[in-house]
């Protein structure tokens, strides 16, 4: 979409120009969103929304299925490939009040060369930071091909004004972000105002333009799997490129059953609309074993087409070193202590 690029090159303070372009982009995004909703329902607009089926989730059933998949054991060669893939899927994240330029630079070095002793280890997919730190990350990652992802829209609570959310999104893009991780308005969602949530995602998508939009549902605050499924479909229909479980600031963050619910929603959405949406579990995935369980659930639900960083990301920080430790063990045949891996 060309208008998105235009917006990105403008100063966000140039209000008169932006608002006109904003209108065009927004209109296009809305049209597309409505097309998606129609495709989902398979019926006329209006009645379609009323009659369309989101479907429900049985808690006992989904948790049993997730638990049974976690018991699978994969082949050794597959494991090596999987661990390598996990690294390429990581959004290496730091989202702290105490983040500084120094910290971001260190993290970006880690992102480029996770294990300085082993050049065969790939870089991570992206570095995920607060908007104010995007410029630091951009600078440190120049020429690496690693994306800079910025959280936005009043992260983590989303409890601020829509105007500010859009401004923040544009500012993050201007600072050099390639990907936007927005949060949905859980207040509106839980109050039943789905239209507000939908419209807000459409607006942010328009503001984000070409940039990859990940929509954080914050499943830990939604309470039921039914609501996770509903929010997933809402976000996908509104234009999300990725749906993401959590901010990492709320417990529980990503869990295996919640991820399975979202993957099943992605599968149903693609079947109805033909549009493939990515998935990002974030927070709480700390070990290689857990990460491989997530990949198993991914493989069994969506198959090999999703086994790529373009369609699956893992938001994590401590996971990376555990994966490196496992890979080195596969290489050397023994475990090395944690002191042999750099902190960041």
């Amino acid at each position: 979409m060309s208008s998105g690029v235009v917006i990105r090159s403008r100063s966000m303070y140039d209000a008169s120009v932006t608002s006109t372009l904003d209108g065009i982009a927004r209109e296009q995004a809305e049209t597309r969103a409505h097309e998606l909703v129609r495709a989902w329902d398979g019926r006329a607009v209006g009645l379609g929304g009323l009659l369309g089926r989101i479907g429900s989730v049985d808690q006992v059933g989904i948790e049993e299925r997730a638990a049974s998949l976690a018991k699978r054991s994969i082949k050794r060669e597959s494991k090596r490939w999987a661990l390598d893939l996990v690294i390429r899927m990581i959004d290496l994240t730091t989202l702290e009040g105490k983040d500084t330029t120094g910290k971001i630079h260190a993290l970006c070095q880690k992102a480029r060369r996770p294990d300085p002793s082993d050049p065969t280890i790939p870089s991570v997919a992206a570095v995920c930071v607060y908007p104010a730190r995007v410029a630091d990350a951009r600078e440190a990652l120049a020429g690496s091909g690693i994306h800079v992802a910025s959280v936005a829209t009043g992260f983590p609570s989303g409890q601020t004004f829509l105007e500010l959310k859009l401004l923040e999104t544009r500012a993050a893009l201007d600072a050099g972000a390639d990907e936007i991780d927005m949060v949905i308005d859980r207040g509106a969602f839980l109050a039943g105002d789905y239209a507000a949530v939908f419209d807000e995602i459409v607006a942010v998508k328009a503001a984000a333009g070409e940039a990859h939009l990940k929509v954080i549902l914050e499943t830990g605050e939604l309470g039921t799997y039914d609501d996770v499924r509903r929010a997933s479909i809402l976000a996908m229909a509104a234009g999300a490129d990725f749906i993401k479980t959590s901010t990492g600031k709320v417990t529980p963050a990503a869990t295996l059953p919640v991820t399975l619910v979202m993957l099943e929603a992605i599968r149903d959405f693609e079947r109805r609309t033909g549009r493939a949406v990515g998935m990002k579990p974030a927070g709480g995935i700390r070990t290689s074993k857990e990460a491989i369980a997530y990949l198993t659930v991914l493989y069994e639900t969506l198959g090999p087409r999703w086994m790529t960083p373009d369609r699956f990301r893992v938001g994590a920080s401590t996971l990376l070193n555990d994966v490196l430790m496992q890979l080195r063990k596969e290489r050397d045949g023994r475990y090395s202590g944690s002191d042999y891996f750099t902190l960041d």
Binding site: S73, I74, K75, P304, R305
Partner: protein
């Protein structure tokens, strides 16, 4: 993708590329089981050779390799076993206080748990069922049954208010090959708790776990003669139930044999419970959680290769969701892993015996001949052993053989309905009535369906879930009497006024 699976159509291999994702063969070690070359009969607390002097071989259905030789008992051996059980009833067990009987049962339960891996591996070797089922379902339930009925043994005075209980005497118990150890537990635990002694005849293709249980009885110091186990052909089963010194007959198996047993003991005062065949309807309404319903349908018909009397072999799906549901189901079938039962990643194991495999294949052919649409995932089957692909028939009419006859294999027939009344009508339109499943988010509809369905067990939003406290049994040609819970205890006592 390893052997034993194919890929679902929705994975779109056309535009995607294969990834090196393979599950490792993760076989459970079989050396935990020390197989004897030969197993005699278990009578009077001892292993004895059959008076017939004959033996037969039991095989591993996943490889067709022999596992061990087992005694082929004759009517003389039956006479010996029943006489021994009668003496044990008169001299010790029947008069033992309930709290003493409870100690033995608790001990058996604990030993079963301690030796659970051994039992799981042996059960899988002899039956062909996946290790994940024998490990996670069969053996834990077996122990749970002994724990549960051990708890009743010293509380019989309170079990049926205002009434006092007496044991019946000697129980003849005949069990099938699909859940050998679990059916043993369902039969022996309540019988012993109530003060009866038993003569048990396991199926001739799966005698080994019962014979290992004999070892548990010895280990628990159970008084000799309380549990006796005879192995051999069907005739000795018939001889056993007809024996005049047998007071109670409990049988689980096919409806045809059940009828034969009924005829054999007609005119006697023997108490009887029969748990026979089934052709359960698994009913899915349009508001059901579809992905979990798919899991439930898969569990309902592919659990134990469909060799389950209460298997959800008829899928009744509301027409408005038939298409998406069947699409999802086909995709899911393609991910099922068929193969080595001892592999922890295996979902569907081997069919128990050659005769059963032939019957399943014959009925699949009948389904095709009658015009139903066959779907089988293109998974590779092992070159040896009794294996059959998970099978789905759509466009099935109520009048087709595959919708009427019990197949007892991994074959699902899909029918559609439009209204709840039609669903009930179709579900009940069968000579059987063992179980049913209802999938809906609407609680009130579940309660209404439960009242209308003529089935002994109705599962709501789940399937094939068992618990020792929950009674199990059938309507119509699925048998009578209940096993499990208090009704299961009632089947082994005579009630008398205080």
């Amino acid at each position: 993708m390893g052997p034993g699976t194919s890929s679902p159509s929705s994975w779109g291999f056309g535009d995607g590329q294969a990834v090196p994702w393979e599950y490792a063969p993760a076989p459970e070690a079989r050396d935990i089981v020390k197989l004897q070359a030969r197993y005699g009969l278990f009578i009077g607390g001892k292993e004895v050779a059959p008076r017939t002097g004959q033996w037969f071989t039991t095989i591993d259905p996943s490889t067709e390799e022999p596992l061990a030789e087992v005694a082929r008992a004759g009517l003389e051996d039956v006479e010996h076993a029943v006489g021994t059980a009668r003496r044990a009833y008169r001299r010790s067990w029947g008069e033992l206080p309930g709290r003493e009987r409870a100690k033995y049962l608790f001990r058996i339960a604990r030993i079963l748990q301690e030796r659970s891996r051994e039992f799981a591996v042996l059960e899988t070797l002899d039956t062909g069922k996946p290790i994940k089922e024998s490990r996670d379902v069969d053996v834990p339930l077996v122990a749970a049954h002994f724990w549960y009925y051990a708890g009743w043994a010293d509380k019989l005075e309170y079990a049926f208010p205002g009434r006092t209980t007496r044991p019946l005497g000697v129980a003849a118990q005949i069990i099938p090959w699909n859940f050998p150890l679990l059916m043993l537990a369902w039969k022996i635990a309540p019988a012993l708790a109530a003060g009866n002694t038993v003569v048990l005849k396991p199926a001739s293709s799966t005698p080994l776990s019962a014979l290992l249980f004999a070892d548990v009885c010895r280990q628990a110091d159970l008084p000799p003669g309380v549990v006796n186990i005879v192995t051999g052909p069907g005739e000795i089963g018939l001889g056993l139930v007809k024996h005049p010194d047998v007071d109670k007959v409990a049988f689980t198996g096919s409806t045809a044999v059940g009828k034969e047993i009924g005829r054999a003991i007609a005119g006697t005062d023997k108490a009887i419970t029969l748990e026979l065949g089934g052709k359960a309807a698994n009913i899915v309404f349009d508001d059901a959680p579809l992905d979990q319903a798919v899991e439930g349908i898969v569990n309902g018909i592919f659990f134990n290769q469909g060799e389950v009397c209460c298997a959800g072999s008829r899928l009744l799906v509301q027409e408005s969701i038939a298409e998406p549901l069947i699409d999802k189901l086909k995709d899911r079938l393609a991910t099922l892993r068929v193969g080595d039962p001892l592999d922890k990643n295996t979902d569907v194991g081997a069919i128990n015996n050659a005769a059963q495999l032939a019957k399943i294949e014959e009925l699949i052919e009948a389904g095709v001949a009658e015009g139903a649409d066959l779907y089988q995932p293109a998974c590779e089957l092992p070159s040896r052993g009794y294996f059959v692909r998970p099978t789905l028939f759509t466009n099935v009419a109520q009048s087709h053989r595959i919708a009427q006859e019990e197949i007892f294999g991994p074959v699902l027939s899909v029918l559609t309905f439009r209204t709840p009344d039609e669903a009930v009508e179709k579900a009940n339109n069968t000579p059987y009535g063992l179980s049913a499943g209802v999938w809906t988010e609407k609680g009130s509809r579940i309660l209404k369906m439960v009242k209308q369905l003529r089935a002994g067990v109705v599962w709501a939003n789940t399937f094939n879930r068992f618990d020792p406290t929950s009674p199990f049994g059938g309507y119509k040609e699925s048998g009578f009497g209940r096993e499990g819970g208090l009704p299961g205890l009632l089947a082994y006592v005579r009630l008398e006024d205080r």
